[in-house]
């Protein structure tokens, strides 16, 4: 299974950090390791462009600082490589 398939269909529990690049009402465009995706923002308080969010099943479920997000992203890229055959 390639990376693209794993990103589309991750394990149920998995949550990944993403950066908000645009906001349109309750929907954001987020950047996940260079890929653009949609995220629903209705579960977090006052999301802003530039914030990092924890993305789970199409929703931002929490916000975080940029520094901590960088560490977590590094981990997830590693998981995607090791676990999904890259």
């Amino acid at each position: 299974m390639g990376r693209s398939a794993s990103v589309r269909n991750p394990p149920v529990c998995l949550s990944i950090p993403a950066r908000i690049v645009a906001v349109d009402g309750v929907t954001a465009t987020v950047d996940v390791m260079g890929n653009r995706r949609e995220a629903d923002l209705s579960l977090v308080d006052e999301p802003q462009i530039g914030d990092y969010v924890l993305l789970h099943a199409g929703f931002a479920i929490e916000k975080m600082t940029a520094e901590d997000a960088a560490e977590t992203l590094q981990l997830w890229e590693e998981i995607a490589r090791v676990d999904f055959g890259e």
Partner: protein, 363 residues
Amino acid sequence: MSTSASKARPADELLALIREQAERLGDRSIRLMEVCGTHTMALFRSGIRALLPANVKLLSGPGCPVCVTPMGMVDAAVEVARQPGVAIATFGDMVRVPGSRSSLERAKAEGADVRIVYSPLDALKLAEAEPGRRVVFFAIGFETTSPTVAATVAYARDRGLANLLFIPAHKLIPPAMVALLEAGDVAIDGFLCPGHVSVTTGSAVFEPIAARYRVPCVVAGFEPEDILEGVAMLLGQMVEERTEVEIQYKRWVSPEGNRKARERIDEVFQTADAAWRGLGTIPGSGLELRPELSGLDALAVLGIDVPPELENPGCSCGDVLRGLIEPPQCPLFADACTPATPIGPCMVSTEGSCAAYYKYGER
């Protein structure tokens, strides 16, 4: 990058600390349980279990949402999929889980409309795009996932969408931890609490468990260093004879959790008794739609009964989920049951213990 207070210490330092603490606890055998599928995956991927001192054992509990879904729910979902004019949507691994007689994957091969989705919002979009079709979302997952489904239910209600229904099969983790402790057939000296469940619940949800059962609890993240630090924190509590709830995963988790997410859950769901694979029915461990939203409950609307389950008698998923046995002790493991031809859900899901054992060679 400056050193962040929330970043775990280096692995070698943590392992040295863990060895020292284990020695201070003497010959005592220590069993720590994680209850999160992502922890299970991370443990096996990183090989942490082999690095721990001989008297410290990490058990995987009922933390895989696909695995704990009872077979009867799979059977009911298959029945739903077979109804004319119905499309059933769910998360990927769920499709491959064998029910008593079939699976969603097999139903699809026989012509049923089964869609794998990444988000419950994909089911909402499908329902909006195809108003002539009834779309049923088979909703599994713990407190990480249930807010996203709750929000989707609320959107469907607010938009007056008549053709999106739900099979609510969500589970709550704390009641399952209590059930394991009450059953008492597995000695648990500490819980490595689930990082992303705790994003929603907050770490405070584990306070009554730590206090009542005198069991240390640490909410841990998913990097190898996070898990090692979580183990070190649990052993530290044991050395100091404390039983508290601590947060290792401070990057995302607070004591109070995500209030907005919990409000969304409470708006559309209420707690109910729920059946777990391997653990039986646990009081207050599930979510059902509130009475005013019962018109969105697929099984009620379509008149589907959950038929009696026909478990494969050799399948030991239940014992694996309780931490009673390890996968290689199952007679079917790596023989009749493999990831290519799974018999039980613990071998289907990438978050399942059996799949992790199989993949990472601990046989």
